[in-house]
Symmetry: C2
C-alpha cells in the first residue's frame, strides 16, 4: 500500500461530499456525479498502471479529493473495481433482460434494442469496458466470478432472443450461441475504435451496428425460407409484380 | 534483465536447431515448427506477466531451449514481439489485399472470404491476438507504429470491399468505416470466447460469422435498392416468376 500523503488543494475540491451527517439525504444527482467522476479517474489509472499498482491515494489524487472524502464514496479499492465490474456486466445484463421481457416487441425489435444498448454503452464509455477486459486476469477471485457471471448473463439474454426469432422464422437457423457472440462482438468492439463523441455521433454509430446485427440474422427473403414455394405463392408474386408494372405505367 | 541461469535438460531439446553452418539449408518445415513453438510460449508469458517483465531467458525456459538456441531463431525479445505484431496485423492485411484483388470474386464473395480469414485466424490462435490487444500500451514505439499501421490496413481492405459492394448495389448504403469496424469486431471477438478446437469446429465458427458479416450488409431485397425499378425490371421479374410457375406445374 502506498503511504498516505497530504493532498494538495484542487480545483475539484468542491466535489467533496457534505459532512457525514448529511450524506444520507444528499445521495442524489450530485453524489452520482462525484461517483462517476471517481470511476472515470480510477478507470484511467487501472488502464495505465494496472489494478494492483493503483492505491486509493492515487485515485483520490487523480480525482482531486482527499483520501477521507474518497472513502465516503468507496470503502476500498475493491469497492471501486466491484462497481466497474457490475456497471460493465450485471447492469447491462439487467437492461437486456428487461428488453427480452417486453411483450410489445418481436424478436427482431428485441435484438435491435439489445444491440443498440450494448453498442451505445461502448460508444459512450469505451475505456470502462476496455479496462475490464485488460484486467480480466488481475481481478480478485470474487470479482472475477461476478465478471464472468455477468458476461454469461449478457450472452444468455442475446441467445434467448435469437433462439426465439429462429423459432418464429424471422431469423435464419443458426447456432444461437455463436450468433449471439457474433452480435456481442460487433457491438463490444466499438470500445476499441470509437472515441466518444457527441450524443448524436454515439447514437448514430450504435444505430448502424444495431441494424447490422439484425440484418446479420434476418431471413433475407421469404423465398429462402425452408418451406418450398407453392403455385399459389408464385401466382401471388406475379400478381404483386403486375401491380408494380401497372403503377409504373401510370 | 533476468540473469541467465543454466537451463535444465528438456523433453523439447530435440527442437534445438542444427549447428550454425547447417542453419541456412534447414530453414524449412522444422525451423518454422520451432519458431511457432517459441511464439506460442512467448505469447503465454507476455499474456501472463507482460512484455516488460519477460526475458529471453524466460522464453528459452518455457520453450525448453537453451538461451543460445533461442538466439538462433530470434535476435532479441523485440524480434519475438515484432513477429507477433506482424503475424497479427501486416500478414492478415496482405491476405485481405489478395482477396480484394481477385477479379473472379464479387463484393459479396470478397467480404465473405475476408470475414472468414479474420475469424478463422482468431479461432485458431485466440491468444496471439489477445496478447497484442492487451499489450497495446506496452509496445515499443516502432512496434506500436507497425501494429496500428497493420490494423489500419486491415480496416482499409475491408472498407474498400464494402464501398465497392455499396456502389454495385449489393450492399446497403452504409458508412463503410463503421460497417467495416463492425465486421472486424464480429470476427475479432472470437479471440475472447472461442477455445481453439479441431479444424472442423474452428472453420464452422468462422463460416457462421462470415455468413453473418455478409448478411449484415447485403441488400435484403432488390426492391429496396435505391435505383427505381423500370418497366423492363418488372417484366423480367414476371418472366422469372412465370418460369418458376412452369417448373412447379411440371
Amino acid at each position: 500500500m502506498t503511504k498516505a500523503k497530504p493532498v494538495r488543494s484542487s480545483a475539484l475540491s468542491n466535489l467533496e461530499p457534505e459532512p457525514a451527517a448529511e450524506v444520507g439525504q444528499n445521495r442524489g444527482a450530485r453524489w452520482s456525479l462525484v461517483e462517476t467522476h471517481i470511476l472515470e479517474e480510477a478507470t484511467s489509472l487501472f488502464a495505465g498502471r494496472g489494478f494492483a499498482s493503483t492505491s486509493m491515494q492515487d485515485i483520490a489524487g487523480a480525482a482531486g479529493l482527499t483520501r477521507s472524502a474518497l472513502y465516503h464514496y468507496f470503502a476500498n479499492k475493491e469497492a471501486v473495481l466491484s462497481r466497474l465490474v457490475s456497471d460493465g456486466t450485471a447492469v447491462p445484463a439487467k437492461e437486456l433482460a428487461k428488453i427480452r421481457q417486453r411483450t410489445s416487441l418481436d424478436a427482431v425489435e428485441k435484438l435491435r434494442a439489445m444491440a443498440y444498448t450494448i453498442a451505445y454503452q461502448q460508444a459512450t464509455r469505451p475505456d470502462r469496458f476496455k479496462v475490464l477486459v485488460l484486467s480480466e486476469s488481475e481481478l480478485p477471485e470474487s470479482l472475477s466470478k461476478a465478471y464472468y457471471d455477468g458476461r454469461r448473463l449478457v450472452l444468455k439474454e442475446v441467445s434467448a432472443v435469437i433462439e426465439a426469432g429462429t423459432r418464429a422464422g424471422v431469423f435464419r437457423p443458426v447456432d444461437a450461441r455463436v450468433a449471439a457472440l457474433g452480435v456481442i462482438g460487433l457491438c463490444n468492439w466499438v470500445a476499441w475504435w470509437h472515441r466518444p463523441a457527441g450524443e448524436t455521433a454515439n447514437s448514430e454509430v450504435a444505430r448502424t451496428l444495431a441494424e447490422m446485427a439484425v440484418a446479420s440474422l434476418a431471413q433475407a427473403d421469404p423465398d429462402d425460407q425452408s418451406a418450398p414455394l407453392s403455385t399459389t405463392d408464385v401466382l401471388g408474386m406475379i400478381k404483386k409484380d403486375l401491380a408494380k408494372l401497372e403503377h409504373l405505367l401510370g
